[in-house]
């Protein structure tokens, strides 16, 4: 049973006017078997948290800790984190020209599993995972994310989740850009992955709709670079009604949040 522990995490990015602090003291623990939703206004730092956990070079950790089962995640390279069992479904998946999706998936599975999957079973495994997510088999021969529509990219992220079976998965707005049917298909995919109870899911979202498919144990409100309140699923409903104004005290943020809903 895995635990991801984030302690007093401070993160900044380099800007033209020097370092700008985006996360200021995130404390959070998620265990295998749990699903947490993180909701918060645009620009509050949700993706920054996700990227910082994954190790994106743009974000500088100025203080704090991230531990996976007691191991220091911040000391690991990006690929080591993934092999340790962390996964980030990105808000904006990256196009990688020249690399076919099938080669990419196989390289990733080889790296994460520590050995190359047997070709025959692998082909079957990929095919069935793709059909579970209603992904056309032709995508295997296309370059990674190249020319994929927004929704196709998101499905492709969940496909990787299904194949790589991480211990803790961070899903950054995986529901944005999905049509109603895709939302259901993708949610089912995430639920299949949760089923075993071996894994933890941190779901970043703006919408309560996905929370009707994937029921969270805890809902966190993220504002101003940290978690400002946590509660049960009913907290999400309150946010849907009243926006974030109670947490940010700013009418502008409330307007932004309102627009997002």
């Amino acid at each position: 049973m895995s635990t991801l522990e984030i302690k007093d995490l401070h993160v900044s990015v380099a800007t033209e006017d020097g370092a700008k602090e985006i996360l200021n003291g995130v404390d959070h623990t998620i265990r295998a078997g749990e699903t947490h939703a993180i909701m918060g206004p645009n620009g509050s730092g949700k993706s920054t948290l996700a990227y910082a956990i994954a190790g994106h070079p743009k974000y500088e950790i100025t203080s704090g800790e991230v531990n996976l089962d007691g191991e220091d995640v911040l000391a690991m390279t990006v690929d080591e984190r993934a092999r340790a069992g962390l996964f980030l479904a990105m808000q904006y998946p990256v196009e990688v020209p020249g690399v076919s999706t099938s080669n990419f998936l196989r390289a990733a599975a080889t790296a994460v599993r520590g050995e190359a999957p047997k070709l025959r079973t692998w082909v079957k495994e990929v095919k069935s995972a793709m059909s579970d997510l209603d992904i056309d088999p032709d995508f295997a021969e296309r370059n990674v994310n190249e020319g994929f529509s927004g929704g196709e990219k998101k499905r492709h992220e969940v496909l990787q989740l299904a194949l790589l079976k991480p211990k803790i998965a961070v899903l950054d707005e995986t529901d944005s850009g999905l049509d109603v049917d895709a939302l259901r298909v993708v949610s089912e995919g995430v639920n299949r992955y949760r089923e075993g109870g071996e894994t933890g899911v941190l779901l970043i979202t703006h919408y309560t709709r996905i929370l009707q498919h994937i029921t969270p144990d805890v809902v966190h409100v993220f504002a101003g670079g940290r978690i400002v309140e946590s509660g049960g699923p009913e907290l999400a409903d309150e946010l849907e009604k009243s926006g974030y104004v109670r947490f940010t005290g700013s009418a502008v943020d409330a307007a932004v949040a309102g627009a997002a809903v």
């Binding site: 990688v96 690399v99 390289a107 790296a111 994460v112």
Partner: protein
């Protein structure tokens, strides 16, 4: 043997950027159709490096091949053997392949084309003997190895590959070793013949190679060329394709991998002057370097469709993949069309960067950095390497590319 100089004041002008520079008060740029050619080195002015066809080339690193100071004191050995056989030598040549060493005045020399720059003309003016390999029937594949003259020495070379009518053959020309080489390779395809030609440059680090390839395609003849440029300090290859009769079909594919300090230059001209011919040019370069050194690739793709070349079909394509900082890829496609009656013509050029975001994405799926780079480069070059149908050769080239990657991939 001098061919009349048709116009330009400055010899050897290439047409790239013709449109871009015209009207900017600079010296007029000659069209590819007016390209100056001559067998005689003295017919060319010594290039200083600002001429259109030399402006990308690091002249100071050419070991004097261009300005008459190279003494051509070495020899570049040419050996012919059955492809895949370990022992080289004329004795191991398959049936249907004949290898001759001929004098300059052999009537067949020059059938492929005429030098269009001073280095090619210098090589032509200086060679004493040429190696002439004739393919007849359906011979087994042949490997021709050209070995540089050795570090600190310079040499010229002359090789002609020719087919008899309706022959179908495969030949690999491998360049290896050290030193500086200026050479001409003539490829003369008889009517209805088909030649698969793979040229590899697996030079040592010090090598300088300035080569001209003169390809003359007979009626209904097919050329399938693949070039792989890996080693060397400066390698500049200028292939020219001409058609002697209708129905000719030439495909020139190529890849180059330039690393720290390397200059790899490919200058292609496809000259369509007869009807119903096809050309297809597809070149890909990858570049990687380290601070303080530059990796540089240059690709010039000139396609000329003259008034008589009705129903021509042509496509040219260059893609460059920049893997690191300190790398520069120049790409100049140029299509000149003098007839309205073409079947299809297009060109495309793009330079992309393997950037931090792509690396992050791959790594975030557990893929280590070196594997990620390999994945990207292998995918990028696959389309070219897949054309090399000799499995042993393709594997060797694949591992040579991975070895290159490992140098700065670490």
């Amino acid at each position: 043997m001098t061919v009349p100089n048709t116009a330009p004041e400055v010899a050897g002008l290439a047409p790239e950027l013709a449109g871009a520079k015209k009207g900017q008060g600079e010296t007029p740029i000659a069209s590819a159709s007016e390209r100056f050619t001559s067998y005689d080195v003295e017919a060319f002015e010594v290039p200083g490096g600002r001429e259109e066809n030399w402006r990308f080339t690091p002249m100071r690193r050419l070991r004097g091949l261009h300005d008459g100071t190279a003494r051509f004191d070495g020899t570049a050995a040419i050996e012919v053997s059955a492809a895949g056989s370990a022992d080289a030598g004329a004795t191991g040549v398959p049936r249907g392949v004949s290898v001759e060493t001929v004098a300059r005045d052999d009537a067949r020399i020059g059938a492929g084309g005429v030098p269009a720059d001073r280095v090619a003309a210098a090589a032509w003016s200086a060679f004493r003997e040429a190696t002439l390999v004739t393919f007849d029937g359906t011979p087994e594949p042949v490997t021709i190895t050209v070995t540089g003259p050795g570090e600190g020495t310079t040499a010229v070379g002359h090789l002609q590959l020719r087919t008899t009518p309706n022959t179908s053959a495969t030949v690999v020309v491998e360049y290896r070793g050290s030193g500086a080489l200026a050479d001409n390779v003539e490829v003369v395809l008889a009517d209805g013949s088909r030649l698969t030609l793979v040229v590899t440059g697996e030079w040592a680090d010090d090598a300088v190679h300035v080569g001209a390839q003169h390809m003359s395609i007979g009626r209904d003849a097919v050329l399938r060329g693949t070039s792989v440029s890996l080693g060397g300090d400066v390698v500049r290859i200028s292939p020219t394709v001409k058609y002697r009769g209708p129905g000719g079909d030439a495909e020139l594919a190529g890849l180059g991998f330039a690393d720290a300090g390397q200059h790899l230059e490919q200058r292609l001209l496809v000259d369509h002057a007869v009807p119903n011919c096809t050309s297809n040019v597809i070149y890909k370069n990858a570049l990687q370097s380290v601070k303080g050194l530059t990796a540089h690739t240059v690709w010039i793709g000139d396609v000329l469709i003259r008034a008589a070349a009705e129903n021509t079909r042509t496509f040219e394509y260059n893609r460059n993949l920049v893997l690191t900082e300190h790398a520069r890829a120049d790409s100049v496609p140029n299509l000149e069309i003098e007839t309205g009656e073409i079947a299809g013509a297009g060109h495309a050029s793009a330079t992309g960067r393997f950037d931090d975001e792509q690396l992050f994405y791959l790594q975030s799926r557990g893929i280590p950095e070196d594997v990620a780079r390999r994945l990207v480069v292998r995918g990028f070059f696959g389309e070219i390497l897949n054309r090399v149908t000799l499995p042993e050769l393709r594997e060797r080239l694949e591992s040579a590319i991975e070895a290159e990657l490992a140098v700065t991939g670490a």
